[in-house]
Structures are given as structure tokens and as C-alpha cells.
């Protein structure tokens, strides 16, 4: 489903060709015809644009899954952001992918769709999986209750994650095993991964749900990215400062509903949270008029550093960063 008829026609043709005419493709330019198509009970896989005409993507996913709980839903975006990805996956989408820009990208997406839907397609080329993250793949394997071994590489093998009938049962990364190994493997930047046939692990070191483990990995990654960004070591896509690296002097992370998840040297967490909520509330009403997309963050240049406020739907973050003394 996409409001752009030309895009719909092109993608439809491509999927038809890639599936060797085995797929039956129904297209819709808005939420209403998409819901009507799913209501027939003949749709197994729904591919939605992240900004569906006439609806909100989260609302549409909910409506589709209410109509057909076994439906596999994929959300596609021109530009994927972590927030869009998180809200779509949380709403029940099985995959969140960037729209393909090349024939190779289209093939990779086609293969990912087949995997999600459980339609057999040989996946021999790791490059074909570009655009699918390791988190996506674990999500797919667990949701489909598959059994497999995921091997993670960076130049050489770094570790393995064992999935049995949709449960993550073991992870190993060098000397580490269990949850520590799992989180370390998911935190590796710039690695590649291969899905292998299942084999019994030498031991079982994990018994938490896959939802918990992936959620914890996301939380740890966000925390680590935020700390790094707050320290001026990396710049996000909407980074606004080119100030020299500094030292984080205060950090508060709350859930979207205001539950405190993490705080460090935050003298008055309640006041910081109140400010974040006020900014979030006002931004919600003021910002749509600007047509500048979502608010990434608010940055305050202070006499001795910076304060950064991120009032996102799923996270409220406050960080204060002191400028590093030149001769420290």
C-alpha cells in the first residue's frame, strides 16, 4: 500500500517477476482499500508505506492485525528512522525496511519478505540481506518459531546465537556466553551475519523471552549511542553542534510515559522530567505546522557546555555535557 501509484506499479511488477509469477499482488493507495483487501482473508503479507494516506501507520497495523491476526505486516519508508522503526515494530510489524533504490535492493527486500512470510526462497548471498539488521533477522526467526543458528562476523567469526523453535537458547561471543554475549553481539557495529541450519548448542545459557532480549539490546544501544553523542564523539543525522568533545555531567532517560529508566548525577530528576514533558507536549502542537518532520532534539548552548533534550514518543532523554577543558 502506497499513495504513489507509479511506485506501486513498479514494485508490483518487480515482485511479480522475482516471484516468477507465483505471487498474487493487490495494490491499494490508501488505508480504506487496504483494509477492504485484507478483510477478504486472501492477503497473507501486507506491505505498508510508513505514512499511509488517510491513516496513521500504527493505527493501520492495529486495524489490519485485528482483522487478520496471522497477517504478516511490513512497513517501508523512504528514510528509515530509529523512531519509525521502533513504533512500527512495537505495533506488530514483522519488518521495517527502507524502500529499495536499486534492483539489488529490491531483490534483498524480496528475500526478506519471503523469509518473514515463511515462503521458501534460497538465501545464499549475504549481500542480499542488505537493509535487514541482525535484530530484524532474530525478530523474524523468533516470530516464525524457526530453529536456526545466526553467526556474526567482522573479518572472522565473532560469535553465534542459537534459536530453537523461536526461543533464543544460547549465545556465545569469544569467552563470553549467555546474555552478556548476546548483548555484545547485537552491539557490534559494522559486522555481517549468516543464517545457518540449526544445530544443538553445547549448552543452554539463555531462558528469557526473545522480546525481552531484543528490547534490552535496543535499550543498551540507545544508551550507548546517547552517551557517545552527548560526549561529542559521534554526530547523529540531525546533529546540530560541532563543539569539541565534552564530558557528560548529567543524564536522565525516561520511558515515553515518564517512568525513569536510568539516571546519572541528576540532582532534580522530577524537574528535568517535567521540562521534557512540557517540551514534548508543546512540540506536538506547534511542530506539525512547520512541516519539518519529527523533532530529533532540542539543544541548549550554555556558558559551560550544552544541555540536550530528546522528547521522543518512546523515550524522554535529558543530558548535560560540560565542555572539556583545553588543558585538562
Amino acid at each position: 500500500m502506497d499513495a504513489d501509484r507509479d511506485y506501486l506499479a513498479a514494485v508490483g511488477d518487480a515482485f511479480l517477476w522475482l516471484s516468477e509469477n507465483t505471487w498474487q499482488i493487490h495494490t491499494a493507495t490508501g488505508a480504506t482499500p487496504a483494509l477492504a483487501a485484507v478483510e477478504t482473508g486472501k492477503i497473507q503479507l501486507a506491505i505498508l508505506d510508513v505514512q499511509p494516506a488517510g491513516s496513521d501507520v500504527v493505527e493501520l497495523i492495529n486495524q489490519l492485525l485485528q482483522q487478520q491476526p496471522k497477517l504478516k505486516v511490513v512497513v517501508m519508508a523512504g528514510t528509515a528512522t530509529e523512531e519509525k522503526r521502533a513504533t512500527s515494530l512495537a505495533a506488530g510489524a514483522g519488518l521495517f525496511l527502507e524502500k529499495p533504490m536499486s534492483p539489488e535492493g529490491m531483490k534483498a527486500i524480496f528475500q526478506s519478505l519471503c523469509e518473514l512470510a515463511g515462503w521458501a526462497v534460497p538465501l545464499t548471498n549475504p549481500a542480499a540481506r542488505r537493509g535487514v539488521t541482525i535484530t530484524d533477522l532474530i525478530h523474524i526467526e523468533c516470530q516464525a518459531r524457526n530453529s536456526s543458528v545466526l553467526e556474526i562476523f567482522r573479518e572472522h567469526s565473532l560469535g553465534r546465537i542459537y534459536i530453537e523453535e523461536g526461543q533464543i537458547i544460547h549465545a556465545i561471543c569469544g569467552e563470553l556466553s549467555g546474555e552478556v554475549a548476546f548483548q555484545k553481539l547485537l552491539g557490534i557495529a559494522g559486522g555481517t551475519f549468516e543464517l545457518r541450519d540449526f544445530e544443538l548448542p553445547p549448552e543452554r545459557t539463555l531462558n528469557r523471552t526473545w522480546e525481552y532480549l531484543l528490547g534490552e539490546a535496543t535499550r543498551q544501544r540507545e544508551l550507548s549511542e546517547f552517551r557517545a553523542r552527548a560526549s561529542g564523539m559521534v554526530s547523529g543525522s540531525a546533529a546540530v553542534s560541532t563543539e569539541p568533545a565534552g564530558q557528560a555531567s548529567e543524564l536522565l532517560i525516561c520511558s515515553g510515559t515518564g517512568e525513569m529508566l536510568y539516571q546519572w548525577q541528576c540532582a532534580d530528576a522530577a524537574a528535568r522530567l517535567g521540562l521534557l514533558q512540557k517540551i514534548a507536549q508543546r512540540a506536538e502542537t506547534l511542530i506539525p505546522e512547520l512541516q519539518l518532520g519529527k523533532l530529533d532534539r532540542l539543544e541548549l548552548q550554555l556558558a559551560d557546555g550544552r544541555a540536550i533534550l530528546q522528547p521522543r514518543a518512546d523515550r524522554l532523554v535529558f543530558a548535560r555535557v560540560a565542555d572539556r577543558a583545553v588543558n585538562a
Binding site: V240, A271, I279, L286, L290, Q291, L292, D296, Q301
Partner: protein, 114 residues
């Protein structure tokens, strides 16, 4: 308003990446430039007023030299001056204007309005 401020402010729309700019004077008067379709004068004034209200609680707690709202497709910078003037700059990301936001802000702070 001094001529050098007027000249500088009038030159802002020519900086590549500036979408709109506005200024609130100490006497409450507003002025600005922007894309006529996306940012007509009345929209600039509205945005300036609304964000200036949001700026108040931040200013009371933190005394910022400036504040920057970073969006997916643009950055909105507010620079308050002790003489109660407030500058607003809306710029596209990854442009000359975005790269020089701090210098433009410093220049506004250095320019005397009296």
C-alpha cells in the same frame, strides 16, 4: 536599529540554506524574511511568538546563549540577547547556513541594536 544590523539581517536570506529568519525587537515588534509560499511573514511571526514562549522556561532554568531545535528536515535556532532582542533562524540541514549557525549567532550577539 543600527544600519549595520539592518544590513546584516537583510543579508541572511542570501546565505545558502536559510529557509526563514525573524527577529523580535525589545519593543515587541517583529520582522522577518522567508520563502513566500512555505514561510510567509505571518507564519514567521507566529512561529517566533510560539517558540519564544517555549524559550522562557528554558531561559529561566539554564540561561542558554542560544537554543536549537533539530528536526528531520531543518534546524531552528533562537538567539536571545540581553537587550531583549531575539533572533530566529530556520535552516536546512547540511548546508552552509547549518554549518555556520554558531558564527551567525555570535554575530547577532555582537551586533548592537541601539
Amino acid at each position: 536599529m543600527k544600519t549595520d544590523f539592518k544590513t546584516w539581517f537583510a543579508s541572511l536570506p542570501a546565505v545558502p540554506g536559510v529557509i526563514a529568519c525573524g527577529v523580535r525587537q525589545a519593543n515587541g515588534k517583529w520582522g522577518g524574511f522567508g520563502d513566500e509560499k512555505k514561510f510567509p511573514a505571518e507564519k514567521i511571526e507566529k512561529v517566533l511568538k510560539q517558540f519564544a514562549e517555549l524559550h522562557e522556561p528554558l531561559a529561566a532554568d539554564f540561561y542558554p546563549r542560544w537554543t536549537t531545535w533539530a528536526f528531520e528536515y531543518g534546524q531552528l535556532r533562537f538567539v536571545p540577547r540581553p537587550d531583549k532582542w531575539l533572533l530566529m533562524l530556520l535552516v536546512s540541514p547540511e548546508t552552509e547556513a547549518a554549518q555556520n549557525l554558531d558564527q551567525l549567532s555570535e554575530k547577532f550577539l555582537a551586533l548592537s541594536a541601539k
